[in-house]
Each structure stands twice: as C-alpha cells, then as structure tokens.
C-alpha cells in the first residue's frame, strides 16, 4: 500500500471509493446509491469550479474567520523543557471548533442541489452546533441526531443547536452515543433522501462524505503552512503535528497540506481515546489494532466482536467516543505516513490541568488527549523541534465533566 505524491489523499481512492483498495467504499442500502452518486457528481464538479471555491473562501474568511491563531505556548514549553510547543488554535473559528468547515461546505452543496432540509449527526455536539449555525446562515431547515447519553453530557452545545433553530433528535438505541447517532441519521436519510441533504460530521461514512469532510477541514493546514513560513521562514526541519483522532476530521485537515513532506521532517501523530485507565473499553481502533470491518458504509479498523457486532466504546470525550475511524487514517496508518497512539481519560484531564495552568488556552477534552501525548514526548525532544498541537475545540462544552472530575476551579 502506497501513498501517492502530488495527488490529494481524498482523491487517491479507486473507482469504487477504496483507499489502498481496502479502506472506505460504499456499503450502503440501494436507496442511497442514487443520492450518493448525485452528491459525487456535484462535488467533483464544484471542487474544480473557481466560482465555488471563491464562494467557499468568502464564507471561510468573513464568517468562520481565518486564519485561526498559531501561537507559541511559551510557559508550557518552559515548564516541559525540550521541544518548542505551539498550538494552532482552531477553536478560534466561529462556533468554537473545526466542525464549522465541513458544515459550511455541506450547506453550500445542499443549496446548490436545491435541498431545503439538512440532517446531521453529532457526538460532542460540535458537528451539530456548527451544522445548525450554517443551516441558519444559509436558510436550511436542520435536524440533528444525537445520542441520549451525549445530550446529557454536552448540554451547552445542545442549547446552542436549539437556539439556532435546529431540531435535536435524541437517539436511544444501542450505547446512545455517536455511533448510534450516525446510524439513526443515515436511516433518516434513507427515508428522506429526496428532500433532505445529509452531512456526516466527520471523515467517516460512505466515500463521498469522507472526501467532502477532508476537503473542508484542510483549511486548517493551508493556514498553518503559511503561518509556519511567516514564523520560521520555511517549513521547520523537525516538525511534529499532534492531533486527537475520533472520526479523524480535524487531524486529517491539520495534516493534509504536509502530506508530501518526508515524515522525518513532518511527522504526524494521531492520539486516540484510550478510555478510563481501569477500563478495557476504548475508542482507539488504530492503537489497539482492531480488525478491519464495515461501519456506516465504509471498511475501516473498528472495535467489534468475533461475530462482527460493533462494540461499545468508552471515553470521557464524546467527540472521540466512536468505535471506528476514518478510512483516510487507516490508509495513513498502513502506509506508515502517520503514527497513532492513545491517551487515557485521566491523562487527558491531567494535560488539561497543565495547559490551563500555564497558558491562556482552554482545549476541550478532545485536544487535551493530543496535548497529553505531545507534552510527554516533547520532553525528550531537542529545542529546535517544533511541536504543534491542534487545539480544535474549546472546553466550554465540557464544563459539567470538568467540574465533576477536577472540581469547581477548573470548570
């Protein structure tokens, strides 16, 4: 399995939508074949269309706000000792997380296709919140599917969705988390694909959704590349990009523009959710070598039992609490372009405490996983190594969990 240079990774799939002839594809009910094909044609044309790109950039620049900050975490660097620790503060984006890029693009596509309603899934609530914002902006009706357990633990985002006029539909099946929300959203689309557009909240699902999401979040690395050159004159000789990985949308977007660099120069480190230290359950299929299987229309590494039933996951961060992983990341793992590891709930909390103690930055629990590993590894690195952590979400949504786990001071 080989990564090609000069071709965007999202376009490296084969005819049937498989990366490395193995990951991704379109394992969907017959009813969805046509709407998926329509979306493929639309997207393939529009992504070459200068007018559409200009429209996208207009909203990215003026509405989402670009670029998000690229800052040195001076105090943290001093405390850790070793590599320079920087952060790309993607949570600066309108709405407070990277999910806004994908949501905006999906709404633009929905408008072009003449659909009046858009449905989407959400775990941490960010994908849903951003979709509700974008839907409102573009005058679309919005339905968000969210696991009942996640509704309970991510209330601030639920309130935001409702305020934006979205209908939040609780999902009570299975583990009542993201995996069930995605299933329910896909079921809704099966029944309503003639009137409704679907936005999958991450680089998961049938191949076209993986591609659209990866294309959208790549804005992060486009900005970072410019910022690095402005700061250092060129891309640093030793660059390490740390990002949390749930479905994999922020990490893919954070890395995409650096794909063709040698990994000795630009290393990608994906941090999955290891779950509670004492629990066997996790949401880290790449780290713990889960077997390949089919989930939500795509072949990927996924937590499952020997029969092929998808296993329940456990993580303190709702955004990473997903048994599968983007086919793009499976491809990056097997081609050895990226390295994957996990941080436990406790490690993420510890990193959150440390970052907020030293810096004016409040990464949500998801990027706190990435900070945990970055801090651990930065210690052993030389001073000329540039570590960049994508702070892709803000901790405001985690208030309740932080108060329960760390006390009032941190909430």
């Amino acid at each position: 399995m080989k990564l090609k240079k000069g071709i965007p990774v999202i376009d490296q799939g084969n005819k049937l939508g498989f990366w490395g002839n193995k990951f991704g594809g379109n394992f969907v009910p017959e009813t969805l074949k046509k709407p998926i094909e329509d979306l493929e044609i639309l997207f393939n044309n529009l992504k070459k269309d200068k007018k559409f790109i200009a429209e996208r950039d207009k909203y990215f620049n003026n509405w989402i706000g670009t670029p998000t900050r690229f800052i040195k975490l001076k105090n943290l660097t001093k405390h850790v000792g070793g590599a320079q620790i920087w952060s790309k503060v993607v949570s600066d984006a309108n709405g407070g997380a990277h999910k806004i890029y994908n949501a905006t693009v999906h709404c633009l596509l929905a408008k072009r296709s003449g659909k009046k309603i858009i449905c989407g899934d959400t775990g941490a609530g960010y994908a849903g919140k951003m979709l509700s914002m974008a839907a409102k902006k573009f005058g679309l009706r919005c339905k968000i599917f969210m696991g009942a357990k996640d509704i309970e633990r991510q209330q601030p985002n639920v309130r935001a969705m409702k305020k934006n006029g979205a209908e939040v539909i609780p999902v009570y099946s299975g583990s009542q988390t993201l995996v069930d929300a995605v299933s329910e959203c896909m079921r809704f689309w099966v029944a309503n694909c003639d009137t409704t557009a679907m936005c999958v909240g991450s680089t998961v699902g049938p191949a076209i959704f993986v591609r659209i999401c990866g294309w959208s979040t790549s804005q992060i690395s486009r900005e970072l590349k410019v910022q690095l050159i402005n700061e250092f004159g060129s891309i640093p000789k030793k660059l390490k990009l740390y990002n949390c990985v749930g479905g994999g949308s922020s990490s893919f977007g954070f890395w995409n523009e650096f794909m063709d660099y040698d990994k000795k120069q630009c290393e990608f480190i994906g941090v999955e959710a290891g779950g509670p230290a004492k629990s066997k359950r996790h949401a880290a299929p790449l780290t713990y070598s889960s077997k390949i299987g089919i989930l939500h229309g795509a072949a990927q590494y996924v937590n499952q039992n020997s029969d092929g039933q998808i296993e329940e996951t456990e993580s303190i961060s709702a955004g990473l609490d997903y048994p599968g992983i983007s086919p793009l990341h499976c491809f990056l793992k097997d081609t050895k372009r990226a390295r994957y590891t996990a941080a436990s709930d406790e490690e993420a909390l510890k990193a959150y405490k440390l970052v907020t103690k030293y810096e004016k930055l409040r990464p949500s629990l998801e990027p706190s996983h990435a900070f945990s590993v970055a801090i651990r590894e930065a210690k052993k690195m030389s001073k000329n190594t540039i570590v960049v952590v994508n702070s892709c979400g803000d901790a405001y949504k985690d208030k309740k969990i932080l108060r329960n786990r760390l006390g009032k001071k941190y909430a």
Partner: protein
C-alpha cells in the same frame, strides 16, 4: 434442479396468488423460540426470511431494530443462526430460507466459509442490505456457484439504466423496496403507484420473480397482490414485541397474523 425458491413461486402462481414471504429476526426473542416460530408459520408462508441481527443496522426501522437488539441481548451468535436453519430444515415440509443481514457479519465469517456453512445447513438465498451492485458482483458469483440466490434490492431511487444492469446480473429473484423508507415505515406511497413501479421493473425481465417489501401490513397487503411475492417483516416483529409486552405467547400471535395475511391474498 430448480432452487426451492423457484418452486415456491411456481406453486403460488398455480394458485393464482402472490407468494407470502415472512421476515423474522433469528433469535427473537430466543434461539428456541425463533425456531418454533419458523416451524409454526411454515404452514402459511411460502418463503421464510430470517434476519441476522446486527447492532448498527442502517436500513432498519424501529420494529426490526427492537427485535435485533432483543436477540443480541439474549446472546444470539451467528452459529446459533445456522443451528436454527439446520433444525428448521428438518421440518416435514420445509420452506425455502433466505438469510438477510449486513455485510460485516459475512465479512468477519469469511465469504467462503459463510457460503459453505449456508449450503450445509440449507440456506436457499441471501439478502445483503449494505452490499449493493456492483460491489456485490464477486460475492454474487460465489453464491451462484453454491446454488444460493443472492437477491438484489431495487429501490424507487434506482435509475432505469441501473435497473437494467442490476437485473441483467441478478439471479432469479429480486426485491423491490416499495418506497423511500427504512423497514417498517408507514406506507407513504399509494399501492397503485407502487404497482406501477413494480410493473416497470417486471417488464425489464418478466422471467425473474420480483417481490415487494417495506411497510406492508395486514391493511395494505391485499392491494399489492398482483406482485410475484410480498414480504411482511416489521409487522411480524411488532407482533412479537407486543406479545412480550402483554405477556402473551408470541408464537400463537405471530401464527395468527401470518394466517390472516395469507387469507388476504388468496
């Protein structure tokens, strides 16, 4: 030799009625009970579809989901499903069995092993909900080699061109999804419209049997009786759920329902 599925359609046609296909979830609510249900409804149904429960079903409505989760919760494993088929096939007058499920279960078992096992226990056909054409081409060939029909699904969204291609590659039976819906949705299209679409499909190759499914109940079944076959699934799964809730015997209630369904299409 004809596949028992062909024989079942032949017999129904002779009696000037559509074939009645039932769908129940294997292991709902237990391994033994689902076997008893098959044996009991066998008298009235022409073909028995048996669902392989999966915990992330992207095409099933709430009734079948409830049945599937119940079966999984009660410990059903894929080997148990083969056991149910094997035992059922010892019935004096066994009807054709079609297993219906999601591809990951087959993928994990291994396509080759799965088909060998199917052949051994007496499975006659397969429906794989999330393995559409052309992705299912190679699997369809493997099925054919074992004389097991891979039943293609056709939907109202399937284009004319695609219909032609799928039907050309299909085995002797196809399944037309009545409307844009997950299983068990409320019939939101008139039976007249469904039959219109059905005949369009039928015209492409009149020799191949086409059944209609999704949203068919005791109320609507009669109006669709010109089809080669009609599938009732969610209504049966619901009957099991309601029976359990009311502490009644699901076996008797399901048997009565199937009897009534059959009566409507005679």
């Amino acid at each position: 030799m004809l596949n028992p599925i062909d024989l079942a359609f032949k017999k129904a046609k002779k009696e000037n009625r559509p074939a009645l296909l039932t769908y129940t979830v294997a292991g709902d609510s237990t391994k033994n009970q689902s076997l008893i249900i098959l044996n009991t409804i066998s008298k009235h149904a022409d073909i028995l579809e048996l669902g392989i429960p999966h915990n992330t079903p992207v095409a099933d409505g709430s009734q079948i989901q409830t049945s599937a989760y119940r079966a999984i919760k009660n410990g059903i494993k894929i080997e148990d499903i083969f056991w149910i088929v094997k035992k059922y096939k010892k019935n004096k007058n066994p009807k054709p069995i079609i297993l219906m499920g999601y591809y990951n279960m087959i993928f994990q078992y291994g396509e080759k092993n799965f088909l060998e096992k199917c052949k051994k226990v007496g499975v006659d056909g397969l429906i794989v909900v999330d393995l559409p054409w052309p992705e299912n081409k190679s699997f369809a060939k493997k099925c054919k080699k074992k004389s097991i029909y891979l039943i293609q699904l056709l939907s109202p969204t399937t284009s004319k061109e695609r219909l032609n291609k799928i039907i050309k590659d299909s085995h002797a039976m196809n399944y037309f999804i009545s409307m844009l819906s997950t299983t068990g949705g409320k019939l939101k299209v008139s039976p007249k419209k469904i039959m219109l679409n059905y005949f369009k499909i039928k015209k492409i190759n009149p020799k191949k049997n086409v059944v209609i499914g999704f949203g068919i109940t005791e109320k609507s079944i009669k109006s669709l009786k010109k089809a080669d076959g009609l599938v009732v699934g969610s209504a049966i799964c619901k009957e099991i759920s309601v029976s359990i809730q009311k502490r009644q015997n699901p076996v008797t209630n399901v048997a009565n329902l199937v009897k009534k369904l059959k009566y409507k299409i005679l």
